[in-house]
């Protein structure tokens, strides 16, 4: 860096340390409180150093919020969603970038627009679709009179039904469509030089061969970035699982359980248990981000706008 003003360097470090403090405090408090006993955690002011009760608090949180099976669910959902997104996004972006057909931009926008309207703004109607994912097709059949026709011909009434409530499919499938992922892949695919496509054409390979032999190996780092982002975001899903799992015991995810950890049930402000629970719930995505930092940052950057 040009200019070696020691004062400015000092200001820089001071600001970064302050920022680090700002960023780390919530993590630290969570850890500290999670490791204290009920008595310690209830003290005002709080002791800012971890104590020795982390394991027992984690145990308490684990049983109180039934985190065992919920962890398993969270992993199933997060991994399912991540894999699904990576696959679907790659396929869609491939079609949009490398094929010249009239509707390609339309398709892109159809997918991209969904980014603007996240689940939260269309909660209620989405729920009814989760109850029967085939409803649109049923309605289409009904409106075009096909249902009636078939019924009068064969006597069988077409009743399309696919209930997603309280199922892994329901937790995963609707989240698998991904505008972000498609966009990211598209951005990356667009950086593939034309010549590479042409070289492979000259070498005699068709589109799918190109996809598997050239495109996929080349997008490995992007895939990692995408995987990180997707894992974090699907692990952290809150509203959707909240909505479509009435059967929390079997299909709940850990993040949904956070509320159950907040004290109030029987009056003991056992924030230590709450924090220990929060800690384990935060940990998997945090680890993923910390470990995949390099790719993740790159991926986000190329996600650009």
């Amino acid at each position: 860096m040009i200019e070696r003003s020691p004062i400015f360097d000092f200001v820089t470090y001071a600001a970064m340390v302050l920022g680090m403090f700002l960023v780390l405090v919530p993590f630290w408090i969570t850890l500290v409180a999670g490791s204290q006993s009920l008595q310690e955690v209830s003290q005002v002011p709080l002791h800012l150093w971890p104590s020795t009760h982390l394991l027992e608090n984690i145990q308490a949180a684990w049983t109180r919020a039934d985190l065992g099976p919920k962890m398993v669910n969270s992993f199933i959902v997060a991994i399912g969603v991540t894999v699904g997104k990576i696959v679907l996004a790659a396929l869609s972006a491939f079609a949009i970038v490398f094929f010249n057909f009239r509707a390609r931009m339309l398709c892109f926008w159809l997918i991209f627009i969904t980014l603007m309207l996240p689940l939260e703004v269309r909660i209620v109607p989405t729920y009814s679709i989760a109850a029967n994912a085939l409803l649109p097709f049923q309605v289409i059949l009904d409106t075009f009179g096909i249902t009636g026709l078939v019924e009068s011909l064969s006597g069988i009434r077409i009743g399309l039904e696919w209930n997603l409530l309280n199922s892994y499919t329901g937790l995963i499938l609707p989240l698998v469509a991904t505008a972000t992922g498609t966009f990211l892949y598209r951005q990356f695919f667009m950086t593939i030089p034309d010549e590479l496509v042409e070289a492979s054409k000259m070498d005699g390979s068709g589109p799918m061969r190109f996809f598997f032999d050239v495109l996929l190996p080349l997008s490995r780092t992007n895939m990692l970035a995408l995987a990180t982002i997707m894992f974090v975001s699907s692990w952290n899903q809150y509203l959707w699982p909240l909505l479509i799992t009435t059967d929390r015991a079997n299909f709940g995810t850990v993040v949904m359980q956070l509320k159950a950890l907040i004290p109030a049930q029987n009056g003991t402000p056992d924030w230590n248990v709450t924090m220990a629970g929060a800690l384990i719930i935060m940990l998997p995505p945090l680890l993923v981000v910390a470990l995949m930092q390099r790719w993740f940052v790159r991926g986000l950057i190329s996600r650009d706008k």
């Binding site: 042409e198 492979s200 054409k201 000259m202 070498d203 390979s205 190996p217």
Partner: protein
């Protein structure tokens, strides 16, 4: 039968016509270079041959077969791209062997073939490296090996050296030449670098804005440029082109009242708007008093090491002269030139075409131009 035949080949993008109907025959084993300024349609033409671009109109024949509707892989061409277009994730061996793999050749046979080709371009030590770990010249060689391994009927090159530095370029030029000499495969090579073109080509196709300006041997193109464009484009420093017209008195009038006496030429072209061309190396300095010398004033001098370029002003027209003299020359100093009439070229400024002033070719003549 020609190796490649182009019959009024046209290419239109949306509204704009970028290749205006090219006709050409390329012989078996010939090395043809397409040369022209950026954007003139060279790549487009090459890519139409390769099958990477649709042919809007006209026909392309390879080995006598119309290939307009054939896929790239069915045309038997191999291509070397400007930026090499190597597969970054594959090793050198995999890059070279990919086409064979796609074609379903068994592994053992493939490997043997790759090894053989790699050897012929001295790439054996690098077979396991990724393209990213190679130097520019090595990458270039991989690209060539990849093209060679398929034993194509035609090699296509699209400015394959433009990413190399000057020294490497010269070296690679020699390699391509050797390759062609040893394999004898028909080759079409696109470049906008005239040195490259001149030194490599059996024949040149000079293009400008989608139109072929001249097809011919390098020396032909240099010594008898078919158009003002070619004259200006080929040769460095560029040919001096002096705009003017011929009076009935056999004088060529130019600039601010300049006159050159050119009776033998004048007869062909009285009164037309023309350009008189002469190469800087054909302009000779003569002593002040020399009969018929062209008087001018020095503008500035560029030292090139081996020689120097003198930029001078003769009655308002710029004259550049290659000079290997050693004397001090400053701006504003008077200077005198002589030009052999045989070294003169004449172009019609309206059509841009050459006006032939003598039947024979570049005859030695010492008849001096006189003012």
């Amino acid at each position: 039968m020609s190796a490649i035949t182009l019959k009024s080949v046209k290419k239109r993008y949306q509204k704009s016509l970028v290749v205006h109907g090219v006709d050409a025959e390329i012989e078996q084993g010939e090395f043809v270079v397409i040369l022209g300024p950026s954007g003139c349609g060279k790549s487009t033409l090459l890519r139409m041959i390769a099958g990477l671009e649709d042919i809007t109109e006209g026909e392309i024949l390879i080995g006598g077969t119309v290939v307009n509707k054939l896929e790239p892989r069915e045309r038997g061409c191999a291509m070397v791209f400007q930026n090499y277009a190597l597969y970054p994730h594959m090793s050198v061996a995999q890059n070279i062997g990919y086409a064979l793999k796609v074609a379903g050749m068994p592994r053992a046979e493939r490997e043997a073939k790759v090894a053989k080709v790699a050897k012929s371009v001295s790439l054996e030590p690098y077979l396991d490296r990724k393209p990213g770990e190679l130097s520019g010249g090595q990458r270039q060689r991989v690209a060539m090996a990849r093209a060679m391994v398929r034993e194509p009927k035609v090699f296509l090159f699209d400015e394959p050296f433009s990413n190399l530095d000057a020294k490497l370029r010269v070296a690679m030029r020699a390699e391509v030449r050797n390759l062609h000499r040893s394999l004898g495969v028909t080759s079409v090579f696109v470049t906008h670098d005239q040195t490259e073109a001149m030194t490599l080509a059996d024949r040149l196709i000079i293009m400008n804005s989608g139109v072929v300006e001249q097809i011919g041997k390098p020396s032909e193109v240099y010594h008898r440029p078919a158009s003002r464009f070619v004259a200006d484009f080929i040769g460095s420093p560029a040919m001096n082109l002096i705009n003017g017209w011929f009076g009935e008195d056999g004088h060529f009038r130019h600039g601010k009242g300049g006159m050159i006496h050119l009776p033998s030429i004048a007869s062909h072209v009285v009164s037309r708007d023309v350009a008189l061309g002469v190469r800087p190396e054909s302009v000779r300095r003569v002593a002040a008093g020399t009969k018929g010398a062209l008087a001018a004033v020095v503008d500035y001098v560029e030292e090139l090491g081996a020689a120097r370029l003198i930029y001078a002003d003769a009655d308002g027209s710029r004259i550049v002269c290659v000079d290997d003299g050693n004397d001090a020359l400053g701006t504003g100093m008077p200077i005198h030139f002589a030009i052999a009439e045989a070294d003169l070229h004449l172009f019609d400024n309206t059509t841009g075409r050459r006006i032939e002033t003598r039947p024979g070719q570049r005859a030695a003549s010492d008849h001096l131009v006189t003012a």
